[in-house]
Symmetry: C2
């Protein structure tokens, strides 16, 4: 069945994070594994905020997490430098090779496409413009508007309302098992994209589809 | 003011995690930073479960997270080996040097002490017995009973009910900023323990106290 609307996660799913990995490693003694640790801490603390009824900008949570990771390894890094470094790199990420052909084909097939990201609204728009893919999306949605992060169910319900679609008629596409599982829990259909190094969260709700390349999505949803 | 009850986080706060870092590194090509990445992923996915109305045993979430971290670095590791390795090390962690003197002094001062952990009930009891500190606690509380993880507010409210104390009369002591912030959000008093490499989450709710050694807690709460 063809979904009426396809929601795309952005970071890692559509945009190649290698440039920010290389960039952030410059303030972390060159260790890219510490950048992975930063991203995991960023995601954890975005949900920690929700648990204590707080909300902070994605870059602020990112800056805090980066400072904590640096501290854990005895690397001197103040919060301003941390935030500036993240800002410098996160809005200059290229799209993966399979992204533009896929978005173009889906758009031509008449399927509405929506960007749904944990990035701030300003950051998200800058990211999509830099990657030259903004014009494919009917809606560009940042969690900033609901002041809670994916995979909180409120995000997916709100996003479906914004795109005027029932959850069951929509599909979430992401390279993160937690995003896929969270969307599935709200009734959306889901596709997991197996980006290099990524695997589905084994205990997450099973995705409807799992694909090795985004190119597979076109035939999958237009069958 | 002396709290009527002091709740202690266990992993990292009371128990030294170095042994599990060394142990888990054996299945992660010797890289202890990957063990840090595992723990951050474990914590993130414990909250991801909550967001999609799921709950899994801490070891199960840990095994899933360990498999994902190994996959991200092209290290072959099946889920059974992952879980077995975690189980082998997590119940054999010694207490930090300042733990037994502090628990003894607080216990002698007539303050009720409670263990409150994300570990499973069976795992938590085994941990406290191995470290020879179980007898100091009036209650040994695992989040397994409420089927959601710290820092979800339900955990702290439930724990205070179990110990028959108002949140305002209780203190949470932890080496994790997210635990301190979560407890504070429910009205508890809080003390952050600056274990090596740990710093308070900069955007978290400010703890009432921050101490470099657990020994400082005794004079702090018996003033």
């Amino acid at each position: 069945m063809t979904p009426r609307v396809i929601f795309f996660d952005i970071n890692e799913t559509l945009l190649d994070m290698q440039a920010i990995k290389t960039g952030l490693a410059t303030v972390l003694e060159g260790d890219e594994t510490l950048v992975d640790l930063w991203f995991a801490n960023l995601l954890h603390h975005s949900l920690v905020d929700t648990m204590s009824s707080q909300f902070h900008d994605f870059i602020d949570v990112g800056g805090a997490a980066l400072t904590m990771v640096a501290h854990s390894k005895n690397i001197a890094l103040d919060e301003k430098t941390a935030k500036d470094t993240i800002k410098q790199y996160i809005t200059k990420l290229p799209a993966h090779d399979d992204v533009i052909p896929t978005l173009k084909a889906l758009h031509s097939a008449g399927i509405a496409l929506v960007a749904l990201s944990n990035s701030s609204e300003t950051g998200l728009n800058a990211q999509l413009e830099y990657a030259n893919i903004k014009h494919y999306f009917s809606h560009v949605l940042s969690v900033e508007r609901v002041r809670t992060y994916k995979p909180h169910p409120a995000v997916y319900h709100w996003a479906c309302q914004q795109a005027n679609v029932k959850n069951e008629e929509a599909m979430m596409v992401a390279a993160h098992g937690w995003d896929v599982s969270g969307a599935k829990a709200t009734g959306m259909r889901t596709t997991f994209v197996e980006r290099p190094g990524k695997m589905m969260y084994p205990l997450g709700l099973t995705p409807d589809h799992s694909i090795a390349s985004l190119n597979e999505l076109v035939s999958l949803v237009t069958r």
